[in-house]
Amino acid sequence: MHVGRSTPRKEGRSKVTGQARYVDDLALPGMLHGVTVRSASPRGLIRDIRYAPGIPWDDVVVVTAADIPGANVVALINDDQPYLADGRVNHAEEPVVLLAHRDRSLLEEARRRVTIEIEPLPPVYTIEESLAAREIIWGTDNTFKKYLVSRGDVDAALADAVTIVEGEYETGAQEQLYIEPNGMLAVARREDGVTVWGSMQCPYYVHRAIERLFNLPTERIRVVQMETGGGFGGKEEYPSILAGHAALLAWKSGRPVKIVYDRAEDMVATTKRHPSRTRHRTAVTKDGRLLAMDIDFVIDGGAYSTLSPVVLSRGTIHAPGPYYCPNVRVRGRAVATNVPPHGAFRGFGAPQSIFALERHMDRVAAAIDMPPAELRRKNFIQTGQTSAVGQVMRDPIDMPALLDRALELSDYHARRARFDASNAAASLKKGIGFAAFMHGAGFTGSGEDHLASVVTLEATVEGRVRVLTSCTEIGQGTNTVFSQIAADALGIDVAAIDIVQPDTASVPDSGPTVASRTCMIVGKLVESAALNLRTTLDGAMGGNKDFTSACREYIQQIGPLRASSQYHAPAGARWSDERYEGDAYGTYAWAVYVAEVTIDMTTCEVQLDDFVALQEVGRVINPVLATGQIEGGVAQGIGWTLFERVVWRDGRMANAQMTNYIMPTSMDLPPIRVFFEETPYEHGPGGAKGIGELPMDGAAPAIANAVSHAAGVSITEIPITPERLMALMEIAVA
């Protein structure tokens, strides 16, 4: 058996030797480099584009919106975003002109000599300004999408309640900061069609976007994923734009064109985590029962809707957290602002709403003078209960046990008491806090039904088995866990499995590599396709031959040995898009994270001393990889909570350098102690659930609760920079 063991990373050797090939490592004969000329203005009408002398413009390929052969729209959900601004711009850094030349250095000069003259229109920069709707910048009311979750009678419960706790919480934008910037290489000719190679999570998203952009039949487009140096959501939707840009330049020039962003461009122009503002009104009894939760959740989508509707959906559904409450209302809205579109980032809306909830739960507990753990314990949702969107929780859930174990692992109670006793006079104040939460795995609602993902396995005469899927390895371990799952289902060694490079010319559409779905949803398809293949083989050859000779004989005597599997929802799963109600996710992973902090009162710097991450994720397929996923997610969560602040100036990221946008170094992180509970999930491969996004949800509220405990002030906004904390503590003293 391979599942459950720490099989070494499939492509580990090529990565540690530097042999793994990323898009920037590719070059084709006659290749040109491309750059993007962007809007300097946040909103306005394009009046003129001028090309200053000093550049051999005849020798430079220039593409504008007028050169687009198909539709000037990035096909995604609402199709509101142009590939190249045409007539007007809606955010700073919006692409307007593309340039290509063989000399990358000369292009930098050329880019500076293009002037885009823009007649300014009044911009909208914040959620509040957008909601105020004095300036309408999108649709009729600046709102990309609204959801309303409603159960019970929230207004009546609030009217009757003795104790109502209100709170408002904010989270900032966060840059994904994969260390490999976005990059694409394209070849495009009228006679052959379009081929792109690049860094991406979702080859078929790119494929469909290119189809619309060039108005070409699907078989004349080919999208190939190169080794991808991190994504975290940042290479979910954005690569469709970059691939289109490279392809447009290639189309016009007849030459291969590569565009690789430098770090500054990647930071200033591509997507980030949606900023959010959440308001809570909670009615609670004296003995800690939640009576009503009234939640208003708003995210800033930026200038175009991109993925905001689905980010909003996940954030909205996760907003009431792992609790049962008879009366719940969640109003979710995604609004437009004139900043570059915000997009997918690990957690996908849930970290924002869970931060608000879990910070708020500590405040509710304080309001009724109850320990935070006790309040949670009284309200955890249990198996058989129904969530706010009407999902009956069928799988085993034991949040109280998870909470107990996490608090014990972190020595929570003793430390909390000790810090309470020692903090008053200390110049180093200590605090401990936790967050309880869950994360739904796979697409929300009917998403997986619409995707109807397919995986194919194919055996060779050598007895090797090739796994064909569009799910990409982006560091999270796809290649390895798919190999483990396939090997076990086939009953062969993991070394005999080959994962085929995702290439839309050869792999089926297994859906995008997002939403913690790869292992649980697509891994299950790998497992069932492998079982099908084995059944076919055994049926034809009998089960007694060794696998290699059976394959060889089958292929020689019968023909190609292939098996596929397509997604079908588990029996009984129901979701209504119209009523926004039903089984929101196939299952959930559950977790309790505990953070211990020290605040240096001289500087208000927060140091993390310990971090315990305990989760129930179904069966763990590969302990080393799974632990790495949790640690990495927690580290990103710590960055979001303490360090990572996007400084906005006139709708533009002002600190778009790695030296000024602060992600954690090896010196900034505490020991991250990871623990698993494993309750097998019947519809996951080997019992596994999704895992990738979960760890992003818990760090922020756990740390904010710990800092609030240490400082004696209520943290309502992240990042908790020393500047912000000092200001809060001064107000508290005054």
């Binding site: 030797t17 430098d262 990495g632 580290a635």
Partner: protein, 138 residues
Amino acid sequence: MTRLLDALRDLHLTGVKEGCGEGECGACSILLDGRLVNSCLVPLIQAGRAVIVTIEGVAQGERLHAVQEAFIARGGAQCGICTPGMVLAAVSLLERNPHPNDAEIRAGLAGNLCRCTGYMRIFDAVLDACRRLDNDSR
């Protein structure tokens, strides 16, 4: 002017990665006369006659360096883009200090940013590499 980074990549030593171009991420780390440097910050003219080791020169033929083996075994590499620089930083650290403690490992790798791992598996890999090197030298 030419950057050493570009000169190396033009020689098809593409294991040298460009993550930021500003000496912040360490993905372009190499050993220049035995010292770890960010090749994006070094002009080629300053590297004349220097002995350069890139990630391509860390393994001895098919035989991986102990640090490379440990990175595979312990989950020190995820997406792999920081890995060449991180491996070289670890190799350089262990050459200077064969038995670093946790604080020394953290300090030794502080110039190499990793967004995937949260560093914990990398620290583990460095400790594992120390053990492998000790065993090799016995």
